[in-house]
Symmetry: C2
Subunit: 341 residues, 2 copies
């Protein structure tokens, strides 16, 4: 049915081995043979069967990406789109295909990865998001299978990973609010089992301590990466007798929820409540008021993850196991309100 290496060999009057060597750019082949074989390949419309090639070469020219369990809701947040955009761009440039997989439970995730790894379907894997103790990481380490983590792992500190310095990022965000004269600053966090939540919390705490500002436990609220979480956090804060005048918010989408709630209650951002978010999604500058946000270079995170993984797959040397993508505070109206004591 399709054209095989044997068809080409016959027609070119050479052996299949020779055709194979021409394809792989093997050294010791006469120019004449190369020309001849290539001609026939074109003429016949030959294309290598990837499966056969993989079977013997034990390489697939494909990398896999495991989407977090909540893939269903996942894409509501621009974070993952941006990551994937970076990954697919880079992997395509490097001649690798990208395989996506997911699972709805931890067991399903491990199964999906097992299938990819043991089924020899991919050469390496990109993991998005790290939870505290992740059986997927244990499995990949045990298998000695190449992988990179977007984020970082506490249980497996030496794992190859691409991350932001989230502690510093949150520190910067908090410092910025302090510089505007705020003293009562709250923090809206994400799911507590995510390392990114705790890193950003740490940065916030550090900045507050350093400035000798009081942190009230009720100024710290945990939630999901969803608008609703912001909305709920806001209602909670606004009912406090001593409410904060500014918030550091774990994700812009959550910040939108805060903003919406604040506006509905008739308060104003930034005069009644100043905000700084994270991720700098395109809508941040569109909302009214525009929201200040830490740009964490999401696309770059994905691009670098793919690049690093492919290096690892090829066995090229990797100098740093932990690559940090720089962040940048984008100051906008939501945090430009100076408090005069």
């Amino acid at each position: 049915m399709s054209v095989t290496i044997i068809d080409v060999a016959k027609k070119a009057g050479v052996s299949p081995s020779t055709v194979s060597r021409v394809i792989s750019g093997h050294s010791r082949i006469s120019p004449a043979t190369i020309r001849k074989v290539k001609e026939i390949m074109d003429e016949l419309g030959y294309h290598p069967n990837v499966m056969a090639k993989s079977l013997v070469s034990k390489t697939t020219q494909t990398i896999g990406i495991l989407l977090p369990r909540s893939a269903e809701e996942l894409f509501l947040n621009l974070f993952f789109s941006e990551i994937i955009r970076g990954v697919v761009t880079q992997s395509t440039r490097s001649g690798y295909d990208l395989m996506m997989t997911t699972g709805t439970s931890e067991r399903e995730e491990v199964e999906a990865i097992t299938r990819l790894v043991k089924g020899r379907r991919v050469d390496g894997i990109i993991l998005l998001y790290s939870r505290k103790s992740d059986p997927v990481i244990s499995f990949l380490q045990e298998m000695k299978f190449p992988f990179v983590l977007v984020g970082r792992s506490e249980d497996f500190p030496h794992v190859l990973s691409i991350d932001n310095n989230n502690v510093l990022a949150a520190y910067d965000a908090t410092r910025h609010l302090i510089a505007q004269g705020h003293k009562r600053i709250g923090f809206v966090s994400g799911p507590p089992n995510l390392i990114v939540s705790r890193d950003r919390m740490d940065g916030y705490v550090q900045a507050m301590r350093e400035a000798k500002l009081e942190i009230q436990t009720e100024w710290i609220v945990e939630g999901e990466f969803l608008q609703e979480s912001g909305y709920r956090a806001m209602s909670f804060f606004m009912n406090l007798p001593h409410r904060p005048t500014a918030l550091v918010v774990i994700d812009d989408i959550v910040a939108f929820g805060v903003l919406r709630g604040v506006t509905e209650l008739g308060y104003k951002v930034p005069s009644d409540l100043s905000l700084v978010g994270f991720n700098n999604i395109p809508m941040s500058e569109l909302s009214s008021p525009p929201i200040s946000s830490i740009d964490i270079g999401i696309y770059q995170l994905g691009y670098t993850a793919s690049q690093t993984l492919i290096k690892a797959v090829k066995g090229e040397p990797i100098h740093h196991n932990h690559i940090i993508i720089p962040h940048r505070l984008m100051t906008r109206e939501s945090s430009l309100h100076t408090i005069h004591p």
Copy 2:
């Protein structure tokens, strides 16, 4: 290195053929053998080598998705994230993996698809977005390779496709504005080579004609699916001596651009200019004012595309070649301003 079917066979004291039959759930195997073999498989941690299986079975349990050329900018628009979310959810549920590929030029796209198809890397392909004459479609048809199109094709009208009724959707949007008393309604379109642009334009024109309303050519502007396009269109409209009082806008993201521009100029939505967009992205209800939008069921589009493709791959009967996902107008403040003549 890894455990093969032969290792299992040896240890279980049967032939490789039998192991293979147990794996594939073949009928005529004694329960005792099945139990024994499964036990050994677990014990040894056996996992089938997908490549070897594909090579002989000629099936990959994988579908491919071709991202539009502009993948770089692509994900800035929620449309693709949502589509992919639908596709990955459904394909995973059906036990298929998802392979993503892209190209930066038409030639590269054809190459990427050729690699997937001729390399027997996938069982079927999902195409996003259709341009007027698409060499990828010609190729797939010629190869008799299963594929579905998200969108529709004029050059290949019988191709399996999942689409909205974009003509009707735009008609509904326009009717809604007419019902508010608007007579001077403009249309901000997308790239003219996309069928979706022309379909929506047609719906707009139909509704206007039917209501015996005049359409001025300067009320129709083409652009990209980007904020900037909306911004530019707005500046253009607002400088017209006889400017429209309402706009149908091809995409919410473009509508945001319009909104931002209008606001900057000191005008108000909806009183100075009413807006209806398409796609109903999450931000539509967050902006101020919230933007009316046609929800086209993007997730559903992706989910159904995957479902239909997998049916086609399996050779199951498909009753309709053109599947239409219903749309729904979400009325919000941006279009709730009644004009009294």
